[in-house]
């Protein structure tokens, strides 16, 4: 399919007529149905699986002039590739939700006043559902894009085996809340402590990104992520059962740090942690609010999409129905 892409691609057009030609000659992506209420969609790319340099060149053609400039200024092939794939993932993912009526190349983006990227809606023939929300995250080995409808979303992915350079408790003392430090300190085994640190880290990142106020707008130490199970222990310790809920505590007088958010934490492909944070739907009955639904696809845009939900590639750690 990517050969089709290469064969029919024309250089970036400068007039409306040739733009029209390019739009109709691009192969279309399979459309995706909107996420339901309390449902998040996650699309991910594994950069190592893309070995075709010509496909990467074709992907470049989907980027805006500004994005291309940025990619060209990056040194290092791996980082360049990651940057291209990041933009391609966002653009193609969003395109799917427009019933593929909107060419991936045509999206415009801007940042909100705190720096969170969002789609810039324009008047005219470009149709973008205004209720679509997205958030990107990447590691060197995976790039992910989360999508929701109506409610803000934040995602964060990390390699499961990532080992911080600094001492975990030092990092926690510096950046996390006192409760979280105590929680981490309760793990004697370094591997468990490392694993719990990453879980907290990804969840906290996902929250801050969902809030969209920037790292300084939601300092990590000003909110607590904790894992709660039915025994409802007050003392920070590992949940006794395998099933636990992810809770967030913020200071009651905090204006910016809201607590009406729900979380999910999954293991992807046995190698990555993915944290998803989306705003709670206040209209839903109490208990139904606690879990979110997640659909996951692995993609190499224009080449292959694979639904990974209900497979071993997506393992619920907490938060999913």
């Amino acid at each position: 399919m990517h050969r089709l892409l290469r064969g029919d691609m024309l250089p970036l057009p400068s007039n409306l007529v040739s733009r029209h030609l390019v739009v109709s000659s691009l192969p279309s992506l399979p459309p995706a149905p909107f996420p339901l209420r309390r449902e998040a969609h996650l699309w991910y790319i594994v950069p190592n699986e893309l070995e075709d340099a010509s496909l990467l060149q074709d992907y470049m053609k989907l980027l805006s002039p500004c994005e291309k400039e940025n990619v060209l200024s990056i040194k290092g092939e791996a980082l360049k590739k990651c940057a291209i794939l990041s933009r391609v993932l966002v653009r193609t993912t969003l395109s799917r939700y427009t019933d593929c009526k909107v060419n991936p190349r045509l999206f415009k983006f801007r940042k909100n006043r705190f720096g969170k990227p969002e789609v810039e809606h324009q008047n005219g023939c470009l149709w973008v559902p205004p209720s679509l929300q997205f958030n990107i995250s990447h590691t060197s080995s995976m790039i992910a894009c989360g999508v929701t409808v109506d409610v803000p979303i934040g995602i964060d992915i990390e390699e499961k085996r990532r080992k911080p350079v600094n001492n975990i408790l030092s990092l926690a003392h510096r950046y996390f809340s006192p409760y979280e430090v105590q929680y981490l300190a309760s793990f004697m085994d370094p591997e468990s402590r490392q694993s719990e640190f990453l879980r907290l880290w990804t969840l906290k990142e996902a929250y801050v990104k969902a809030l969209g106020r920037g790292f300084s707008g939601a300092p990590f130490r000003d909110f607590t992520i904790r894992f709660e199970n039915s025994t409802d222990s007050v003392v920070p310790e590992r949940p006794k059962s395998e099933e636990f809920r992810i809770m967030i505590d913020t200071a009651s007088d905090s204006v910016n740090l809201t607590a009406n958010w729900q979380f999910a934490l999954v293991e992807l492909c046995g190698s990555h942690l993915a944290a998803i944070c989306m705003e709670k739907d206040e209209n839903m009955p109490g208990t139904e609010q606690e879990f979110l639904k997640l659909k996951v696809w692995k993609t190499l845009p224009f080449v292959e999409d694979k639904c990974m939900s209900q497979t071993d590639a997506v393992i619920n750690i907490s938060g999913l129905c």
Partner: protein, 141 residues
Amino acid sequence: MASVTGTAISISARPSRRSLQVFNGLSVVKSVSFAGQRKSIPSIRSHPATSRFRVSCAAKPETLAKVCNIVKKQLALPENATVAGHSKFADLGADSLDTVEVVMGLEEAFGITVEEDSAQSIVTVQDAADLIEDLVCAKSA
């Protein structure tokens, strides 16, 4: 994540120095920018070694060298990797966890504390070194 939160790459490219780039056959002169979010205010600094007008408190060479070493160590870069003032953290493959690790490493090495909002404006290693210099100066003042 490359920057502390949010974007993997900056969508609105912010050039940090004058450069002539050729793009699609057009020459584009980029303007010099002083990274508007910087906390340091323009000041004339009298320095025994190099007394010249500086628009912002630039880091001493030894500070920059120390910062480069710490960055290299914190990001676990190979020995032969180039880390210089103009290196962008994003280009070094630093994501948000890397960034806080670097900041913590710098804080410990220089005995200072970096506020979250200052850390957010750091794009290059030079930015980090300049900020460190400011903080070290403020601490000893």
